[in-house]
């Protein structure tokens, strides 16, 4: 991972058309501004993780596995 130190008001460029600006930094976190083409998808990473985890959770259990797995959970 590339690590750079930036102060409030300073920016980074990614490729030709994405700019990331550090707007403010505090103990609560960094406030980030992003300029990017409209079609660029920008997500908080936790949201992507949650989507993936939900997809895994939706697999659930086959009906025959339900009883066996739940029994294991009960210990």
């Amino acid at each position: 991972m590339l690590v750079l130190r930036r102060r409030a008001g300073e920016s980074l460029l990614i490729g030709d058309d994405i700019e990331i600006e550090v707007l403010a930094v505090s103990a609560q976190g960094a406030k980030i501004g992003i300029r990017a083409p409209r079609e660029t998808v920008i997500l908080r990473k936790e949201l992507k993780i949650t989507e993936k985890q939900n997809e895994a959770a939706a697999q659930g259990l086959g009906p025959s596995d339900l009883e066996r797995t739940l029994q294991k959970l009960r210990g």
């Binding site: 908080r44 936790e46 949201l47 949650t50 939900n54 959770a57 959970l73 009960r74």
Partner: protein
Amino acid sequence: MPRHVACSVPGGMPQVQTRYFGSMTYREESVFEFPAGLPGFIQEKRFVPIEVPQHSPLIFLQSLAQPTLCFLSFPILVVDPEYRLAVAREDLLALALNPDRQPQLGTEVAVLALLSFRDQLPATANLMAPVVVNLKTQRALQAIRQDQVYSHQHPVQPRASEQLC
């Protein structure tokens, strides 16, 4: 915790095709309303919680729109009796709860951890993004924590279900 047990007693109540239990009737007022859906399932806005005595304290979250979609969940305190809520302000506002403090678990909100099962591995619970339900309105959302305190793949210990309920 919600005690809305969907049961198979006929009598003019609406019916839902469930993934695990065939056709069941449910009470309209027991439905959890997710106005924004769930991440990855934004079109799924209504789920009915199903509790089955032999699987207690498991709660099945059955989609009303899609019979094959049923999340399995535990009340979050079953997974971690010490669990501390940290629902983001915007999520509290979306749930029509006081945004200036965390809601009371069990009286104001029900909080459920969605479970994942993978072959041969222990079940995991998503403690990073629990489902939070306003018990007054049944309005619900998946509240993604903005801290790094809990895992989205927290291993569920056997006997977890005996620690509570």
